[in-house]
């Protein structure tokens, strides 16, 4: 019986480690925006006579990543040289790992709870990044360029390469995998995990099974620099391969580049060169021997993993799965949320506020939670006022807005918002309510005749009173007064 062709997807992901210095020298890894060729030294420029010395921090970060993935750490591994000529590779070899990687095995979950699927990891190893070529052509392409420039600032930045087993079967699973991995490295604090900036790079291998379920020809796709383009590239490539097979055309084993603008993958013209990297152990670096104690220390330093945290938010704090997902996307947000809860905020209200008000602010200002002006303590205090009925939600948002945009402290913001809660209360409030009700005769009639079963009309009246009080009334009191008068 013919089975439908199923996509078989494997990923090869390069994650830049956020160490201060490069993998084999003391140069800064902070190359974004740096003047070209300023973060360089004889070692990362591969000058004659210079020698590499491995950065301990990079090993720590890679080991932590491996441990978080549940991989087995190789206690005695080594570095190999991968030899090839290219102008961005100053030694004409890349120091990488080959036969004995830093870690093997491990897995990462994709999909939501009920449909969770564990994708096995093949291996994880450390290697150095290459420099960057800048082509002179306006489109930045090599083909149309008169000349190319090389910037070695990125050369030697530590990369952790993670290779999965080809067990992903849909573009969205692949996307989910990368998004989980990104979340993980951010939680571990080992990488920015930013695909747009290139601190997380994904290559994918795609093939379609043949009608008997056997493996098809594998195509490697590159140049996807967002989760969205990864998904689109895979979708395109799967469709392309299906079409090829339907037409009876063979699928070439090749590397194809994703063109995000045109929305298609493009094969490299001409014949592919078969690379012989002539790997051999780097004689400049002694074997990398890690002690059990070192590995245990790294294990001890692992933070709570994002999926564990999410589960805890749901089970212990009663958050919805959606809230918990959003709040555990970034470690900073999760910490902020936990800070609010610790300060006494109700988990659901804090979650709600962070997802809406806080994140809106961060998006508008294009900043991160680390630069958010309001501490969890201050936000909690504000939220507590809502809980205590001192402030309506609407007014609280105004106060919040003033606190974050004008950098006011809470009292100032309350004052400026004219919102010292309860200012309009008691008799004043009663008068105000009466005045409003006089103008809203028909609504009052409706309520009294019992047609307001869902309480919508009452809420509407409450709102009018609040507006009349310019938010300076306590909504709970308004409701109470309103009830009182209407029921009489």
């Amino acid at each position: 019986m013919r089975k439908p062709r199923t996509p078989v997807i494997g990923l090869e992901i390069h994650v830049q480690m956020k160490t201060e210095s490069k993998l084999f020298c003391a140069c800064s890894t902070d190359y974004i925006g740096a003047v070209p060729n300023t973060n360089v030294c004889p070692v990362c420029l591969g000058l004659p006579g210079a020698l590499p010395v491995v950065n301990r921090k990079a090993i720590e970060y890679a080991v932590r990543t491996a441990l978080a993935l549940g991989a087995r750490i190789g206690l005695s591994t080594r570095f190999h040289r991968k030899n090839y000529f290219y102008p961005d590779l100053p030694k004409a070899y890349q120091i990488s790992q080959y036969d004995v990687p830093l870690a093997e095995g491990g897995r990462l979950p994709v999909g939501e709870e009920e449909k969770r699927k564990w994708i096995p990891i093949t291996r994880l190893h450390l290697e150095e990044d290459a420099g960057k070529l800048v082509h002179s052509a306006r489109d930045g392409r090599l083909g149309n360029s008169e000349y190319s420039l090389v910037d070695y600032n990125r050369g030697g930045v530590p990369l952790t390469e993670i290779v999965t087993e080809p067990e992903l079967s849909t573009p969205s699973e692949a996307r989910d995998f990368v998004s989980r991995l990104r979340q993980l490295v951010r939680f571990l604090g080992v990488s920015d995990g930013d695909m747009e900036k290139g601190s997380l790079r994904v290559d994918a291998n795609v093939s379609l099974t043949d009608p008997q379920g056997g493996l098809g020809t594998k195509v490697e796709i590159k140049n996807m620099n967002s989760l969205r383009s990864l998904e689109r590239a895979l979708e395109f490539e799967i469709a392309r391969q299906e079409l090829c097979l339907e037409r009876g055309e063979p699928i070439r084993q090749e590397t194809r580049h994703w063109d995000d603008g045109k929305g298609l993958t493009r094969g490299t013209r001409g014949k592919e060169e078969a690379h012989d990297y002539r790997y051999f152990p780097d004689p400049d670096l002694p074997p990398l021997v890690l002690s059990e104690a070192f590995v245990e220390e790294q294990r001890r330093l692992l933070p709570e993993l994002p999926w564990d945290l999410k589960e805890r938010f749901i089970l212990q704090l009663g958050l919805s799965s959606e809230d918990a997902s959003t709040l555990t996307e970034l470690p900073g947000i999760a910490r902020y949320f936990e800070g609010c809860v610790r300060e006494g905020a109700s988990p659901n209200r804090a979650a709600n506020w962070i997802r809406t008000e806080v994140m809106r602010f961060l998006n508008e200002k294009k900043t991160s939670i680390e630069n958010f002006p309001l501490s969890p303590e201050k936000l909690s205090r504000l939220l507590a006022r809502i809980d205590k009925g001192q402030l309506s939600t609407t007014l609280a948002k105004t106060v919040f807005e003033r606190m974050v945009t004008e950098n006011l402290d809470e009292d100032e913001a309350l004052e400026k918002a004219g919102a010292i809660a309860g200012k309009v209360s008691g008799d004043n409030l009663r008068e105000m309510v009466k005045k409003v009700l006089e103008k809203e005769g028909p609504t009052v009639e409706e309520i009294k005749s019992g047609r307001d079963s869902k309480g919508k009309k009452r809420s509407f009246l409450c709102g009018l009173v609040m507006r009349e009080s310019k938010g300076q009334a306590d909504p709970a009191e308004v409701a109470k007064v309103l009830e009182d008068i209407l029921d009489r």
Binding site: P48, G49, P283, D284
Partner: protein, 485 residues
């Protein structure tokens, strides 16, 4: 004067560093047009450095154990801002922006570097004829080669320009020229001396070491050079002994010296065999005991093993010379064209031969048959030496199978050239210390060297034994009429 005496005189203000430097420069100007040991003289810089030393003396500061001692360093050691060619067109105008650690150690110890010595291109060769610029002559017979690849350094010490010079030894490049030029040459245990700033030939075999005309100076140099270096991941962190403390022994009683049984049948020129016998009897006289040791794999597999591993590493180490960043860069139409032309023009035939060999043995399909087999042989050779040293404190063996050969003699026959390293390269494969010392002169007046090989970190034993020989045979003399330096 040897280096120790010079430093003492300078520190005691009996002679100035400038006077010493001027004397050395004078001698170089007198002789070096014939010998051509120096590739790049650094006389002005040297005189300035010498003045600094003298100022320190005036200020009663200690310039260090090599105060005012003139030295010459092989041109594969980086010196900040100074041309470092490695004997190659590829780096003809290259000025490193940093100092090799050993260069820094020398200058911190008060040494005055007079110049950069000629060498076989990228340290590949045994005659210094592979220098891209000019060959160096053997000071004892200008028609003959000084050995290589550190031929310039050896010749400089033999000519009496300087009492100390630095070379590098990957398969014999210090010891073979030391033997050919009639001076001491010590290749330290792998990891004892920093390789940072030594332009790599074969990283797992390269080691920097000194040439000298007295054992005392070798010890002095080792005290300066053998420091742990955080910039070299293969540098050992073990505590270094005071090498001078190994000297001054009255006898060698209790010392066991190994003689390699398998070497007895190996064709070695008779005058070298005689020199070995001479040294053996001196050591016996001093109280050493002789024991047979066996190194069957070493003699059989050493040479092919070396000529697989060293080119393999070299092919990778020299790949960086691509015309993109520094050094020679040919006019080219495309990237591939740039690579081909630059490397075609920049490298000499021996370097190309080794890059091709090395690329071949690392290629997929050949790796297992060559590189891997050679790695296994290397491990066996190391084990063989280790068990030999269970019964012996050091081994006495030839440095070379022949006396210095004539210029051009082996230029068309790489195998014959390679064979001149048959006794030295196993020592690099096993990472051991090896010391070549002069043991007299042939009837034709050529120096004859022999080699002491020790277990790892066994430099002290080698120095003690060499001193015992020096007491009887005297210190090596300078070519061209004794010491005027």
């Amino acid at each position: 004067m040897n280096a120790a005496e010079m430093a003492k005189a300078v520190r005691e203000a009996k002679i100035s560093a400038v006077e010493i430097a001027e004397g050395a420069i004078g001698r170089i100007r007198l002789i070096d047009s014939d010998v051509r040991a120096l590739l790049t003289p650094l006389f002005e810089r040297a005189l300035e450095k010498a003045e600094e030393i003298d100022r320190k003396i005036e200020l009663k500061q200690d310039p260090g154990p090599l105060a005012g001692v003139p030295v010459i360093v092989k041109d594969n050691l980086c010196m900040r801002g100074q041309v470092t060619t490695c004997g190659s067109r590829m780096l003809e105008n290259w000025r490193p922006p940093y100092d090799a650690s050993v260069v820094r150690f020398l200058e911190e110890a008060g040494a005055v570097i007079l110049g950069k010595a000629n060498m076989d291109e990228f340290a590949m060769g045994s005659s210094t004829e592979n220098s891209a610029f000019f060959p160096t002559a053997n000071p004892w017979d200008l028609e003959r080669v000084p050995g290589g690849s550190s031929g310039g350094s050896a010749a400089a010490v033999a000519c009496g320009y300087v009492p100390l010079a630095l070379g590098s030894d990957t398969g014999g490049s210090i010891r073979q020229p030391a033997a050919f030029c009639g001076v001491y040459g010590l290749k330290p245990t792998y990891g004892l001396v920093s390789r940072f700033g030594l332009v790599a030939f074969a990283s797992s075999l390269d080691q920097v070491g000194p040439f000298a005309r007295s054992v005392e100076d070798l010890a002095l140099a080792m005290n300066v050079l053998s420091k742990p270096d955080p910039a070299d991941a293969t540098s050992s962190w073990r505590t270094r002994p005071d090498y001078a403390a190994f000297l001054g022994r009255e006898h060698l009683k209790g010392m066991k010296v190994g003689l390699v049984s398998e070497f007895e049948d190996y064709p070695v020129q008779s005058e070298i065999t005689e020199a070995l016998a001479r040294v053996e009897s001196i050591l016996r006289e001093a109280g050493a005991e002789f024991v047979p040791v066996s190194l069957p794999t070493t003699i059989e597999a050493g040479l092919p093993c070396y000529y697989i591993l060293a080119p393999a590493e070299a092919s990778s180490n020299l790949a960086r010379y691509d015309g993109v960043r520094y050094g020679l860069s040919a006019e080219a139409e495309s990237l591939m064209d740039l690579y081909m032309k630059t490397r075609g023009l920049g490298f000499g035939p021996e370097v190309k031969r080794r890059i091709l060999t090395g690329t071949y043995v690392l290629s997929s399909g050949y790796y297992d048959a060559y590189y891997l087999v050679a790695q296994k042989a290397r491990i066996r050779i190391s084990r063989e030496f280790r068990s030999a040293f269970e019964g012996a404190d050091m081994i006495l063996m030839p440095t070379t199978p022949t006396l210095p050969f004539r210029k051009g003699e082996h230029q068309d026959d790489p195998i014959q050239m390679y064979l001149s390293d048959v006794f030295t390269l196993p020592v690099n494969l096993a990472g051991l210390p090896g010391l070549s010392l002069n043991a007299g002169y042939s009837k034709s007046g050529l120096p004859v060297g022999v080699q002491f090989v020790g277990p790892k970190w066994g430099e002290g034993t080698l120095l003690a034994a060499a001193e015992a020989v020096e007491r009887v045979l005297g210190k090596p003399t300078c070519a061209f009429g004794g010491e005027k330096a």
